[in-house]
Symmetry: C2
Subunit: 225 residues, 2 copies
DNA sequence: GATGTGTCTTTTGCCTACAGTCCACGGCGC
DNA sequence: GCGCCGTGGACTGTAGGCAAAAGACACATC
């Protein structure tokens, strides 16, 4: 166990490495897009972004490529990158897929969940409810994301998790205005879901998760009017 | 209808545009990977590939980035790209997701399908059976892909289609040896599936598609022994 | 003989530079 | 005045080049 140095485990502060520049650019741009700082349809000029971020065009290009494969930007050949414009139809389809993935995750979680995992879920749920009670909207949204992530983790399917993470992030982008509104009801549904998982009731877990995400869809369409 | 030029429709050979170089490199590499010309775990050196393809390193880099987002290669920082090594667990998870996506597609197709679409499906099915009868394995595999693609098209969910296409391609990579074996049974299942879609029976279509892809999983595991 | 160290090579990460392409604007003919 | 063509600017696509990091190997040391 490398005892030769005699240094305690945490003595070396791990020498924080900034990581590849392209990844940081990617995250920066994604942040700018999701926060609406870069608006849908906007033309993203490589040299501009590069100058603004203090890097060269190359990392920016690579970040844009990646963003385009995940449909955050549309990359028209010889014309550049444009922030993707959400469509009504697309939002709907995306939500359908999300429902599908989350429901399957719930089913798998119900099939595999152990006692300690369920305790963790309930803790997350409690914290979420506390955030709602305190009118901490950002906190509630964050806890919601963590709860869903935990369920996905319990499902134990990494491929599914990766897909769901991507879809989820985009859904959140489309539905940010909506997500903030439905605080209260969402968490009572979460309780039911955890109960179903605890009971190992796969069918009920699936059904609840389906209904849960479908509610989001309804709220979106009601808001349209 | 633009009669000013007086040229017949097909006179201009569409001015074949090669398209961005990175895309062609991407497709070339993907082809090399799926055909096992580049073996799993192999270290892909940018300058080598660039020289071999007759282009500079930049398009190769961009292609590799894209391949890495789709998990065809693993991109270790400061170390380069390595062809992804399939795992037993991963193959299983991937197939689970595929089952999920295809089953949903079948359900949606059953919900939306029109008469003319069903005719198209049956034609594809007939052609597939003919290929099997003629021992045309490659043809049968191709028709299989087209049939599934058609069903996905009928589902009318582009987001779902895109995801399924990616998952499918990787599944095919993992399961190529298997796919060639199960010719006959596969097509009788297809017939049943079309029947269910024709009858607008969403539940039956889902169930059949589930069973259909699950059979693939079984064959894979039997082959292991 | 085993271990640690220094150097050397290879390969990536990033930057800069040049060529090709598309769009917009203005002039020209009708 | 209206439409078409040519020209200019801006941006992307691609290439080449340099510095830094990671791995390999030989050598010195214990």
């Amino acid at each position: 166990m490398l005892p030769t140095t005699g240094l305690p485990q945490g003595a070396v502060p791990k020498l924080e490495r900034p990581g590849p520049l392209r990844d940081r650019v990617y995250e920066a741009l994604l942040e700018l897009i999701t926060t609406r700082a870069l608006q849908p349809g906007q033309h993203l000029v490589e040299s501009e972004l590069a100058g603004h971020l203090g890097v060269s065009r190359q990392p920016v290009r690579e970040a844009l490529q990646r963003l385009s494969t995940e449909n955050w930007v549309d990359l028209r050949p010889a014309q550049g990158a444009f922030v993707h414009e959400p469509t009504e139809a697309e939002a709907d389809q995306l939500l359908t897929v999300r429902t599908l993935l989350e429901a399957e995750a719930a089913r798998l979680a119900a099939a595999h969940a152990r006692a300690e995992a369920i305790i963790a879920l309930e803790e997350l749920c409690t914290e979420g409810e506390r955030a709602v009670a305190a009118d901490d909207v950002d906190g509630a949204v964050a806890m919601n994301a963590r709860l869903h992530a935990k369920i996905m983790e319990l499902a134990g399917n990494e491929v599914l998790a990766e897909l769901a993470a991507r879809v989820d992030r985009r859904v959140r982008w489309y539905y940010t205005p909506v997500a903030r509104q439905r605080g209260q009801q969402s968490w009572t549904e979460h309780r039911e879901l955890i109960a179903a998982i605890t009971a190992r009731d796969e069918r009920r877990a699936t059904a609840i998760m389906r209904a849960h995400t479908e509610h989001t869809r309804k709220m979106y369409h009601e808001r349209e009017k």
